[in-house]
Amino acid sequence: MKHLQREHARRKRDMRREHARETWRLFCKNKAALFGLAILVIFVLVALFADLIVPYENAIAQDASVRLDGPSAAHLFGTDKYGRDVFAQIVHGSRRSLTLGIGTTLLSVVIGGLIGALCGFYGGKLDAIVMRICDIVMCIPALLFALAVVAALGADMINLIIAITIISVPSYIRVIRSVILSIVEQDYIYAARLCGTSNWKIILHHVLPNAMGPIIVQASMNVASMMLTAAGLSFIGMGVQQPTPEWGAMLNEARDSMLDGHLHLLLFPGVAIALSALSLNLVGDGLRDALDPRLKS
């Protein structure tokens, strides 16, 4: 008997391991997702070891002699109108930009996901009230609302994250609620009720895992727009303060110089934002497919 139990436990462990390996194998089969993961890993490593790559001083030190230089050996990505090294700004800006983009997205997904799940699952008065609040928040122009929040709380990184999260949560609530409305009518939810499973367990074990696909897609699409909203706030002086480097702020600043033909100022932060958004999109897609047991052989 003991032996049988041990045997069974072993088989179960093997199944789990097999499951993880299978997920990873499916993810690897998706070349685009693997490419996205590679870029994401590079970006994260750059953000983590920014100081080792290029000293922070290079990103803020102004040098009038090299204003608006194009890419060269001394300044890999050229310099901006104050003579600051763009490469150093990109490298050090990745910390803030990635934190803003990914941090706000994660926060919005968790908050929006929980509220959306409760609304979709319970419906009724709670749902009606939350939906009207969402309508109101979505009526106010996003940037203006974030501006008001930052103005009230004070301009710094944390408040910026809070402000951007508040304006993006309503759209998450709506998307997730609509997904969940279609799931709660499925027979397996009724079957779980008959099994005596409590409501919150049904939400956690049945509803949310099945809503994961659309949530991941929505989240990975939103990262870039989060970064840009943060950039917009930085531009009007309500976000990351100059001279702290941040991709969105760099992009906004580049607009003045763009007309004079200094396209490198626009190009590098633009590519950095686009690449990070793209990589998250690809990883999101790959994850969604790899996590779906229906697609496994």
């Binding site: 139990q5 397996y188 009724y190 079957a191 499973t197 229906r294």
Partner: protein, 325 residues
């Protein structure tokens, strides 16, 4: 014999919301005053055409949809009047197998997780090893291989999925199972296997079934008693023998005449009764007999007065104005 389930005057109305403030402008009377009882260890077949409220009745009995009115007594206890914990205990003993074996199993769970869900939620086993043993036992009982316990449901065929559904329903040690069109989604050879499995389980465990179906052949095979439902009401009730050999209600006659005949003898004796007209609008029911609009034996009284539920002898009940038929 004692009554395991007794349903008295069960009603389920679905409101139709309309207007600016979402007021209820009308009601669909899906189940309108249904009463029946099932003896312990027996099978009641509930038949009727699509949309007559038979599935709704099953769901309301199990508490998946709240009832509008009436009483449900399980093992002599009124489900609406007992304490929360007692109700939970009674609900444990009532389970269901759904029609669609694809949408009734969570695609994100493996078989072991699905079957053990009720065991875990009702704390029927103490240790993980006990749960696993129980899951294996249930799988074997339902004709599945325990080696497949960690597979996901999409790897199974329709018949196997329905076996998983049955194993899940059995997991909480129920006395009573609602089989809501449990075999309609399967093809005929698989239907036979599942029906035999259900019959074996019923005999070996002593289960009581409410067998909801529109397939009269299967109902005749598995049921001890049959109730015929039309537009939210039971129009005829009797033993399987009474209903199939001596139907009293014109609707039952029409239903039975729609069963395909296979042998030459059957075909020669077959008299098809084809109903004319359509179902009345569910939110504007006729005041007389609900079947009057389609009944070939309609008389003046049928349109005016609602027929009463009368015993036509030996517990064979019928709701029709015409005494002979």
């Amino acid at each position: 014999m004692d009554k395991l389930l007794e349903v008295k005057d069960l009603k389920k109305y679905f409101p139709i919301k309309g207007g600016f403030f979402g007021r209820t402008v009308a009601e669909v009377k899906a189940v309108d005053g249904v009463s029946f009882s099932i003896q312990r260890g027996r099978v009641l077949g509930l038949v009727g055409e699509s949309g007559c409220g038979k599935s709704t009745a099953g769901r309301v009995i199990l508490g998946l949809n709240p009832k509008t009115g009436g009483e449900i007594l399980f093992d002599g206890e009124n489900l609406a009047q007992v304490s929360k914990s007692r109700q939970r205990e009674l609900r444990r003993r009532m389970q269901m197998v759904f029609q669609d074996p694809f949408s009734s199993l969570d695609p994100r769970m493996n078989v072991s997780e699905i079957i053990s869900e009720g065991i875990v939620a009702y704390k029927l086993c103490d240790t993980r090893a006990e749960i696993e043993d129980r899951v294996n036992e249930l799988m074997e009982k339902c004709g599945l291989f325990p080696e497949q316990a960690y597979r996901y449901v999409h790897q199974f065929s329709g018949g196997q999925r329905q076996r998983i559904c049955i194993a899940r329903a059995l997991a909480t040690n129920p006395d009573f199972i609602v089989l809501d069109e449990a075999v309609s989604a399967l093809d005929v050879s698989i239907q036979a296997q599942i029906i035999n499995l259900l019959k074996d389980l019923q005999e070996s465990i002593g289960l009581t079934y409410l067998f909801i179906s529109h397939d009269l052949n299967i109902v005749q095979f598995i049921s001890d008693e049959v109730a015929v439902m039309y537009l939210g009401e039971i129009v005829e009730y009797g033993t399987t023998e009474q209903i199939f050999s001596n139907p009293r209600h014109p609707y039952t006659v029409a239903l039975l005449s729609a069963v395909p005949a296979f042998t030459r003898e059957e075909k020669a004796n077959k008299h098809r009764m084809i109903l004319e007209g359509d179902l009345p609008s569910p939110y504007d029911m006729p005041k007389g007999c609900r079947f009057a609009g389609r009944c070939p034996y309609r008389e003046a009284v049928c349109e005016e007065e609602k027929p009463v539920w009368t015993d036509r002898g030996d517990g064979h009940y019928c709701m029709c104005h015409r005494p002979q038929l």
